[in-house]
């Protein structure tokens, strides 16, 4: 079973059971230091092991993050950053090519 937050990616992949927590990527088990919420989320996720009867079963957790700004801000592209982003991409491609050239990659 998957306990996670990127529902579009998980549903495209297709998994037996998915407990969906609609939080920013990074804290699928609950907000940091909120042990009560974490316990509740993990317990409910586990119950899906029992309740699901077919593949692609998705259950959404009722908890909310508290604010919604993160939804728009994740990987946000500001028009004034276009040139900078192109330079970053160029730098990234150059580095990747260098790593391939020197063999700093997985061999298996």
């Amino acid at each position: 079973m998957i306990l996670g937050s990127a529902i579009d990616i998980v549903e495209r992949c297709g998994v037996p059971r998915f407990y969906f927590v609609d939080f920013p990527l990074g804290n699928p088990c609950g907000k940091p230091y909120d042990q009560e919420m974490q316990g509740s989320i993990v317990s409910k996720a586990l119950s899906l092991f029992v309740s699901a009867s077919e593949a692609r079963t998705v259950v959404k957790d009722p908890n909310r993050w508290g604010s919604e700004e993160w939804r728009e801000r994740y990987m946000e592209i500001n028009p004034e950053d276009r040139e900078k982003m192109l330079r970053q991409g160029e730098e990234r491609r150059r580095k990747r090519q260098h790593l391939r050239d020197i063999g700093h990659t997985r061999k298996d």
Binding site: M1, I2, L3, G4, A6, I7, D8, I9, R12, C13, G14, V15, P16, F20, D22, F23, P24, L25, G26, N27, P28, C29, G30, P32, Y33, Q35, Q38, G39, V42, S43, A45, L46, S47, F49, A52, S53, E54, A55, R56, W65, E68, W70, R71, R73, Y74, M75, I77, R82, M85, L86, Q88, G89, R92, R93, R96, L99, H104, T105, R106, D108
Partner: protein, 163 residues
């Protein structure tokens, strides 16, 4: 009165967001996300209260650069680190952080649930599954390796908790 809290926020469309981001960085080929028409399913073979649960994360026990090769790794649940490392992965580094292990690696919570009888036990190791650009590598190398380690630990169920 218009109450915004009554309206359900829509989940972030991560595939579209990622496509636009890398397009803006000048990458000309969009990533092809994994897609499976046939999805396996198996009912539990024994009650949850008798099942051993293994935890699989995409975080790492060691700090990595985005350019470092990644490998399957496992940690002892009796020697949990204070946090995992994932600065080389894409997650929401502005909205949150990984300082509280319990917010993304539920080992201690599962240990509590084992003590109160909700589950049978927690597998002795948690596993770090690398996120790879190559789906073939995940499918043919890393996933079988994690499965094999879960079986070595006699786990009945795997809880995959990607960041």
């Amino acid at each position: 009165m218009y109450d915004i809290s009554m309206h359900e926020a829509q989940p972030v469309q991560y595939m579209e967001r990622t496509r636009l981001y890398y397009e803006a960085q000048g990458f000309d080929r969009a990533y092809q996300w994994a897609q499976h028409d046939d999805v396996p399913f198996k009912p539990l073979s024994k009650p949850l209260s008798e099942s051993r649960v293994a935890v699989v994360t995409t975080g790492a026990r060691y700090d990595r650069l985005m350019t470092d090769p990644r490998f399957v790794d496992s940690g002892d649940i009796d020697e949990l680190p204070s946090h995992l490392f994932a600065r080389d992965l894409a997650w929401d580094k502005e909205a949150t952080h990984l300082n509280d292990l319990g917010s993304y690696l539920p080992v201690r919570i599962l240990q509590t649930l084992a003590e109160n009888g909700t589950i049978g036990s927690v597998a002795s190791r948690f596993h770090c599954l690398p996120t790879e650009y190559s789906q073939r590598r995940t499918r043919e190398t890393d996933a079988p390796e994690v499965l094999s380690r879960c079986q070595e630990d006699h786990a009945d169920l795997a809880l995959l908790v990607p960041l």
